[in-house]
Subunit: 392 residues, 2 copies
């Protein structure tokens, strides 16, 4: 029997960016409190969370403080320190979800790929890189180009270097500047993702989304993905298989490639709610953030049924240098029927920084292309540029 | 041109109960900050709002403090002090929406009815009550029973006394114990309500809901109301007419009677988001809370289109005496597909206190009765009673 009191259970979150903010927004209706740990005072989640502890993501003392005030710990960034989380769990008895072991696996892209391949998850051919010779060997085996990846710390394409020929191997290795792995370059038909939750004795998978990246940063997600039903079914299957490998409860963002032959290959996993799942807030019966709260608390998972065809688009800062965050023409977003604005509350706009997103839900008869087109027009109607603001 | 910065605009709210809490939940995605004024430390809205000022609803000094930190003031309770709000507006230049004049009109049910009747809004026959003779006269004119109402301070049926016969007039007047009015008792077919927003140069009306009261407390709302289309159209029309009379921007809850002949009569107006509009969070494209935030800020209003047939049911504390709030069997709410829990975070359960609500959205083919039935079963599956919790 689950009982709910006032105040309800508290989730301690390492990280207080937009994911922590949207988690807190989703937790409040359930009576669930959120406290975040983030180094930036007044971080995006601070205003809506019960409280913020100011400290580094790996500040074990502050993580300990967080645990003392929480019923369960989770994290919204891969930078969370798995060792510190394990020691705090040991010291306080407060559970951590997903398990820090999962974070350790995912943290190192080579370890991640090896573990997934071992479990039978389809992944592109890959190998460890010790020196430039390994890269040249990969080019010989897989064909050029190949993708050289930093084993740790990369996101939004940072740390990924395409290598076009054997001659570029040395330079690429220098660019990555650290432990690396190399992967066959997947000539994909489209990028899709499965947002999947592992709960207490159950799992739940959201409808498959299609992702549009530009310069390796996610621009848009369209749901349902414009793939064939067998491909979508296969993607969900791979998603479920990935959950089997993951240790601990929570929402996982599972990025996949669909090849021209309709094959599914795993790209990367995020052990947390994912940018490509933001559409669930309006588009699914349960949002990925509510689902994450339910999962880490061991509560029943919510319905993942699609409410309507949906497209979300990121609002990236279209600035050349860091400026105070100031979005002009926002009335265009507010006026658009069935569009929902999500503002992350970041104080500074930096080039290509994710400042917010907009979700557009469609009618039953509105084609995915039309919904996506509406979302794109909205994104293009607003700007963070000072000069554009003055001239408007 | 509307621009959005970080932090965004701040709404100062007099009152920090569940309405303030849901307003803060809805404001956060828009980048809008909410600060509440409430006498109860750690009031329901406190955890999710940017801040709470602790003070009485009529504490002019605290209202002044609130205004100093806000771009606009609003209120979530009729107990807000209209004179204090006017003086603070005068002193600080911070606008108040809706206008305190509207609050003054609505505060006194006799003044409210007179003003609405003068504006051509259909209301049940009513008159002022100075003494018992006025009540007897009303019975002679309208027929028994009549409804004696306290002119101020009543809500959820408090302050309303049905008078069955001329002989009961004295006792009824004593029970009300203050300035009163008397109204013809409306033998209604159903109670319906229109949630309507007055924005900057525009208005928007949500689909009409049907309300089920028990002992004068709202139990359920079903949308769309099970009335004929002409009746629903007439209800929306009356809602729009009411907005014409109201001064200042914001969301208004307009409670109506539908008579057996299909006539619409105004019952009461709340100058704020209303319990019978909670369904909009899941059931409409914009929630009444987001709509209120948009309205008071003078931002474009959002789409009020129905997303799906929807029923909401209040979780009232089924206790005999005040106890710590503790809802048992909450997994039944969490497990139910397409059900959404809203917990208000009140520390104490008191008899019939509104502790939360549950909304169930239906599929296209699910009949309103079936959705309502699901909502009722959920409500009946949970309890605040200690003894029931032990025996489960």
């Amino acid at each position: 029997m689950t009982t709910l009191e006032s105040p309800g259970p508290t989730i301690g979150v390492v990280g207080g960016g937009q994911l922590g903010r949207m988690l807190a927004e989703a937790a409040s209706p359930l009576g669930v409190e959120v406290i975040v740990l983030d180094p930036t005072p007044d971080c995006p989640a601070a205003g809506v969370a019960r409280d913020q502890l100011v400290g580094a993501f790996d500040d074990e003392e502050r993580i300990h403080d967080l645990a003392e005030r929480a019923d369960v710990l989770t994290f919204e960034i891969e930078l969370a320190d798995q060792d510190a989380l394990e020691r705090v769990r040991e010291a306080t008895g407060v559970p951590v979800h997903p398990d820090p072991a999962t974070l350790r696996t995912i943290h190192d892209k080579l370890v991640q790929k090896r573990e997934l391949a071992d479990a039978g998850i389809p992944v592109p051919p890959f190998r460890a890189v010790e020196d430039a010779a390994d890269i040249r060997e990969a080019i010989d085996d897989y064909g050029a180009p190949v993708m050289l990846k930093a084993r740790t710390g990369g996101y939004d394409g940072r740390g990924n270097v395409p290598v076009e020929s054997r001659d570029d191997a040395e330079a690429a290795l220098e660019a990555v500047a650290g432990p690396a792995m190399v992967e066959s370059f997947v000539d994909f038909e489209r990028e899709i993702s499965v947002i999947a939750a592992k709960g207490y004795g159950e799992t739940a998978t959201f409808p498959v989304g299609e992702n549009v990246h530009e310069a390796e940063i996610l621009r848009e997600t369209i749901v349902p993905a414009r793939s064939s039903e067998p491909v979508l079914e296969r993607a969900r299957e791979v998603g479920e298989d990935v959950l089997e490998v993951m240790d601990g409860r929570g929402v996982y963002g599972i990025e996949l490639f669909e090849t021209p032959a309709g094959e599914i290959l795993l790209n990367e996993i995020a052990p947390r709610p994912h940018n490509s799942g933001h559409w669930t807030i309006e588009g699914a019966h349960t949002s990925q953030f509510e689902q994450h709260a339910r999962a880490v608390l061991g509560w029943p998972l919510g319905s993942t049924v699609l409410r309507a065809p949906t497209a979300s688009t990121n609002l990236l800062a279209d600035v050349d240098t860091t400026t105070p965050a100031r979005l002009a023409n926002v009335e265009r977003l507010l006026e658009e029927p069935t569009a929902s604005l999500h503002w992350y509350g970041k104080r500074e706009a930096r080039p290509l920084r994710k400042m917010g997103h907009v979700t557009v839900t469609g009618g039953e008869t509105e084609q995915p292309e039309a919904i996506l087109e509406r979302a794109r027009r909205l994104r293009e109607a607003v700007t963070f540029r000072e000069t554009d603001q003055e001239s408007n």
